[in-house]
């Protein structure tokens, strides 16, 4: 009786080792959350100095106004109520590329004027601008165009993100169209790659992404 005990092989059965390892592996696979740093970027305006004038007068036609009230209703340019957020994309696209009165003044980091920006557009875009846009009631040129988004304190964050998403979509579409990419391809350009960075800079030259988040009024809505 005691003999058989001593005799028995002392090898541990390793057959189930793989199963245990699989179990652990699956546990880690399921619980792992790969940290994502994706989102909508925005550059806030610098700190307000006390002695600075609060408002810099901009011509009304150069500002595309979007108002959101506490019921999440959207008002465009003070006179148009829209229900579908996705309408904004086309409106902003047309607004920025309006070229109502392109000037010669060189602006921005790329130092190009609106006229030069217009000349640098692809033929298809220029044809589109000529036939559909160029209204004297919309923006003078891309360097002057500002999109102002004013959300009431009581409006929801969800609608704000949706609108911001549409605004970014409109700009990405413009940038993409300029260099012959779709908006999605443009978005995926890697700035660490010099060739892609050059393309990115070319697309953005002369058309700043001017999205302004206006301070909401404290009352009303």
């Amino acid at each position: 009786m005691a003999r058989s005990k001593d005799k028995g092989g002392t090898e541990v059965n390793a057959g189930s080792m793989a199963d245990i390892a699989f179990l652990l592996l699956i546990f880690f696979l399921v619980t792992t959350q790969i940290a994502t740093n994706k989102g909508l970027t925005l550059l806030l305006p610098p700190k307000q100095e006390e002695d600075e004038p609060l408002e810099v007068k901009q011509q009304q036609r150069n500002i595309f106004k979007i108002l959101v009230n506490s019921q999440d209703k959207i008002l465009i340019e003070d006179d148009q109520v829209i229900d579908d957020v996705s309408e904004i994309r086309g409106m902003v696209y047309d607004f920025v590329l309006n070229f109502g009165a392109p000037g010669d003044v060189k602006r921005g980091a790329a130092d190009v004027s609106d006229k030069e920006t217009y000349a640098a557009l692809t033929p298809a875009m220029r044809a589109y601008v000529n036939s559909n846009l160029g209204s004297s009631e919309s923006s003078d040129g891309p360097s002057k165009a500002i999109v102002s988004l004013k959300a009431d304190r009581g409006s929801s964050y969800e609608i704000f993100i949706q609108i911001l998403d549409e605004l970014n979509a409109a700009y990405n579409k413009i940038y993409g169209d300029r260099v012959g990419l779709t908006d999605e391809e443009f978005r995926k350009l890697k700035k660490s790659d010099p060739r892609q960075k050059a393309l990115y800079d070319e697309a953005r030259a002369g058309i700043p992404k001017a999205i302004s988040i206006a301070e909401p009024t404290k009352v009303g809505g």
Partner: protein, 153 residues
């Protein structure tokens, strides 16, 4: 004769002894690459999805602010701001940003990016207040964190 016999007798079994090693290798890979969340989020986080996302390249410069309804019902239903492991008040944001800036090296201090992770039921009021404070603290780069929209159509 016997020579041929031996050949046909050999069993066709694949040795599986190395299988656990392979699985362990995979396991270790996942264990090493997994970055465990450093902070426990104390507020509700159902972040609205968006399409036009930009990926941040320098992770080191990103600091997170969580905004949403507190998970603990005893704290009420009004949205709160969480920085690191604790709640901060609106007035405490400037100080918090400065502490976070001190963690970065001198040259990178102005490039700090604040990632706002906001629950979709939050109202804009608190977000505007946070933005005003961030301007005050000169942390102007912000990113509204959002997962990619899944296409329904």
């Amino acid at each position: 004769m016997s020579k041929f016999k031996k050949k046909s007798e050999s069993t066709q079994e694949i040795p599986t002894a190395a299988l656990p090693d392979i699985i362990f290798m995979l396991l270790f890979f996942f264990m090493v690459t997994t970055v465990l969340r450093e902070t426990t989020v104390l507020v509700e986080q159902r972040i609205p999805r968006a399409e036009q996302l930009v990926k941040l390249e320098k992770k080191k410069l990103v600091t997170y602010l969580y905004i949403g309804k507190p998970k603990d019902a005893a704290l009420g239903v009004e949205p709160l701001i969480q920085a690191n492991d604790a709640f901060v008040s609106i007035d405490g944001i400037v100080q918090w940003v400065n502490v976070e800036k001190d963690k970065l090296s001198e040259v990178e201090r102005d490039q700090i990016t604040i990632s706002l992770k906001v629950d979709n039921e939050t109202k804009m009021g608190i977000i505007v207040d946070v933005q005003t404070e961030l301007r005050e603290a000169n942390a102007r780069k912000i990113i509204y964190a959002a997962p990619t929209k899944t296409n329904d159509n």
